[in-house]
């Protein structure tokens, strides 16, 4: 990982314990640590409690959700919300669409982004500076400004309301190109030079020699694009209209605004939101350490 994030190496060298209160004053340390942990624990409860309530409420009845919002144990446990979601709504379709898009986007992004990152880092060709400037430039365009424009273009080229229109615009991510470029620049060139001398073509060098070395960086890209496309909403709002192309984010948002349902129906909505959180939560816990380090790395470069 330290290759992706050059600063990581330095971070690792510093023993964090040393920067905290020194060992010389055990008594103050004890009192201070108790206070510290009291604060940390109460804050952690504030951050985690909402999610516990969410799960608990999804098993309550509508009436109980309204009358005893705080309780973490339903008085009468009901699976009605989940039955309604999977039995009588388009939830399974939404889930499938989100999965299709996320898988395609993640695979495509890993490939395209590393290809471009490699070219920008290693290949010497006229126009490289311009391309790099272009990538940096488009990174500054905020996503919300693109709502209307993206719809116009998808529509003009006949990709509106199709999987292609949902997936293609998400396939490339300028920040990903950036991360890969930085990574490739950090690994020694000698290995590929040897392969070149042995007569391997550029793509072959990239594919069989460089890419396998880039695993840590690729995992970073996978995490970023999985989370990004699974949680994406605005792009799907403007790129689709058919119910059969609705994704989880768009479908659940329509549940939330109550247009499909009567009344508040909190257990149903919270169940819908809880299930859609599971895949990113799983990803988060699997790659927890890496995610944390990545974000640290993000600011470092």
């Amino acid at each position: 990982m330290s290759e992706v994030i050059p600063a990581q190496a330095t971070v690792r060298q510093v023993d964090p314990a040393r920067s905290s209160t020194p060992r010389r004053r055990p008594r103050r340390l004890a009192a201070g640590q108790t206070l510290l942990y009291a604060m940390l624990i109460s804050l952690a409860i504030v951050y985690i409690f909402p999610f516990l309530v969410q799960v608990a409420t999804s098993f309550k009845t509508d009436a109980e959700a309204a009358s005893s919002a705080l309780s973490l144990v339903p008085q009468t446990t009901t699976f009605a919300a989940y039955e309604a979601l999977f039995g009588r709504s388009d939830y399974p379709i939404w889930f499938m669409n989100s999965a299709i898009v996320t898988v395609c986007v993640t695979l495509g992004r890993v490939f395209f982004v590393s290809l471009a990152g490699y070219a920008l880092a290693r290949l010497d060709f006229r126009g490289r500076g311009v391309i790099f400037a272009f990538v940096v430039g488009v990174m500054a365009v905020p996503a919300v400004v693109l709502l209307i424009p993206k719809f116009l273009v998808l529509n003009q080229i006949g990709m509106y309301d199709s999987y292609a229109g949902m997936i293609l615009p998400l396939l490339v991510d300028a920040a990903g190109v950036f991360i890969m470029k930085n990574f490739f620049e950090s690994i020694p060139v000698s290995v590929e030079e040897q392969a070149r001398i042995d007569g391997a073509g550029t793509f072959r060098v990239f594919w069989s020699i460089v890419l396998p070395m880039a695993r840590p960086a690729l995992i970073t890209i996978i995490i970023l694009s999985f989370q990004g496309s699974w949680n994406e909403l605005s792009h799907f709002i403007v790129s689709t209209q058919s119910p059969e192309l609705t994704t989880l984010t768009k479908g659940v948002a329509s549940l939330a605004s109550g247009q499909l349902s009567q009344g508040t129906q909190y257990p149903l909505k919270l169940a819908a939101a809880a299930i859609m959180t599971i895949p990113v939560a799983v990803l988060f816990f699997i790659f927890q350490k890496r995610i944390m380090n990545n974000t640290e790395g993000a600011v470092k470069g």
Partner: protein
């Protein structure tokens, strides 16, 4: 190794696919530049139909789906019903993309906008049952002297009373309010801890009934009369009662709409339309209620009337089939069946007697049709009403005259 191979294949494949899509995409055009024809004949083809509806609940969705399926079998034309999660947005996106649904629910305030940019086909005059529709409804869907679309049904607002709470408060049938003063009185009687007397949505679509009862309206013909003293009087009456806590907006007592406040016993009375029947049966079957006409205001009786029509897209390739489907859906028998399933009143006069007979308890809704007002239909008024609604939400702390003044100037900007 196999893993590498399959990845390589995927990579190359994705690249190729992207290339093809980009190339073909640049060459093609997603737009159909042809102008919607409103005067020439209807289009006809072998294409199936897509019908976009905004259902008030499962009952309505199922009823429409079943009926369309029956027609499809009979006529041999394929037809799919889609239930919109946000009808306005889906319609707008469909029109802009040149791929709108063939038939769709269309509210009267949306006609002007879509008619102006050529999205709609005016097919009203082609209907074989044209003369059977209530003239007031036909007028509501006539824009620029063209009868655009067939009213699918209609509803009026009534006073829905929870009879158990009513009796518990010691009230009898004789106490059903017929004037504003009586309404304030019974509301006060019915207001207890955790329950208000009367609830309704914070919107012109409900509060406007009081304006009608005071003799006001937003638009009179082509004249904007939003800031009339009658309207001010109506809003002041509502404000007074909101302040007293005997009236409340549904959202302010934690309900999504009037029907929910009513069903959960948060309000003893609500102002709602026929659609409340379906919701009560489905969600709150244990609540007993009756429907009365709204009480009269200073200028007499008044209520609001709602109707949607079956809008037809100018871009639809098979308008002839759509027309036949509309005739099927608006036939008296069919509308009576819909009414039974989810509550609205038939839009054709030939169904009136049968409906009254079948729904004696809903007679108040039909009675309201005699004096009901419509929402303004001019282009741009939907946005003004939305803004008015936003201001009505803070009516309790706002100044009625100032609110109406701003509605006046906003309406003048779009109507004038």
């Amino acid at each position: 190794m196999t893993r590498h191979k399959s990845r390589a294949m995927f990579g190359a494949g994705a690249l190729a696919v992207a290339g093809v899509l980009v190339l073909s995409g640049c060459g093609g055009s997603g737009f159909d530049d042809s102008e919607g024809s409103t005067t020439e004949g209807l289009t006809s083809s072998e294409d199936g139909l897509t019908i976009l509806i905004a259902a008030s609940g499962d009952a309505e969705a199922t009823a429409v789906e079943d009926t369309v399926a029956a027609w499809s079998e009979e006529s041999g034309v394929e037809a799919t019903v889609e239930v919109a999660s946000d009808l306005n947005q889906q319609l707008a996106q469909g029109f802009a993309a040149g791929s709108p649904p063939d038939l769709f629910y269309l509210s009267s305030d949306a006609i002007a906008g879509y008619a102006d940019n050529g999205s709609l086909t005016a097919y009203g005059d082609e209907l074989s049952n044209k003369d059977d529709f209530y003239p007031a409804l036909v007028e509501n869907f006539t824009y620029d002297d063209e009868f655009y679309c067939a009213p699918k049904d209609f509803s009026t607002l009534g006073l829905v009373i929870n009879t158990d709470l009513w009796e518990a408060a010691g009230l009898t049938d004789a106490d059903v309010p017929t004037t504003w003063d009586e309404l304030s009185d019974v509301s006060e009687t019915l207001t207890t801890d955790g329950q208000v007397g009367l609830a309704f949505g914070a919107e012109y679509q409900r509060v406007g009934a009081f304006m009608a009862q005071a003799g006001g309206a937003l638009v009179d013909g082509d004249t904007v009369v939003a800031d009339s003293p009658e309207n001010v009087e109506a809003l002041e009456y509502v404000k007074e009662n909101l302040d007293a806590g005997t009236f409340a907006y549904a959202a302010d007592i934690g309900a999504g709409w009037g029907g929910e406040a009513f069903g959960q016993g948060l309000a003893a009375m609500v102002i709602e339309g026929n659609w409340i029947g379906g919701a009560m049966t489905a969600d709150y079957p244990d609540v007993n209620y009756q429907v009365a006409e709204l009480p009269a205001g200073p200028s007499g009786e008044g209520t609001l009337q709602y109707t949607n029509c079956w809008g037809m897209a100018a871009d639809s390739p098979n308008q002839q089939a759509s027309l036949e489907l509309v005739e099927y859906l608006t036939a008296a028998d069919q509308q009576l069946a819909f009414s039974e399933a989810f509550g609205p009143m038939p839009s054709v006069q030939s169904a009136a007697d049968a409906w009254t007979e079948a729904n004696p308890e809903d007679a108040a809704f039909l009675a309201g049709a005699d004096y009901a007002q419509f929402l303004p239909t001019q282009a741009g008024t939907a946005d003004v009403v939305a803004d008015f609604n936003a201001q009505l939400e803070s009516l309790a702390t706002g100044d009625p005259a100032a609110i109406l003044q701003s509605v006046q100037s906003n309406l003048e900007a779009s109507v004038g």
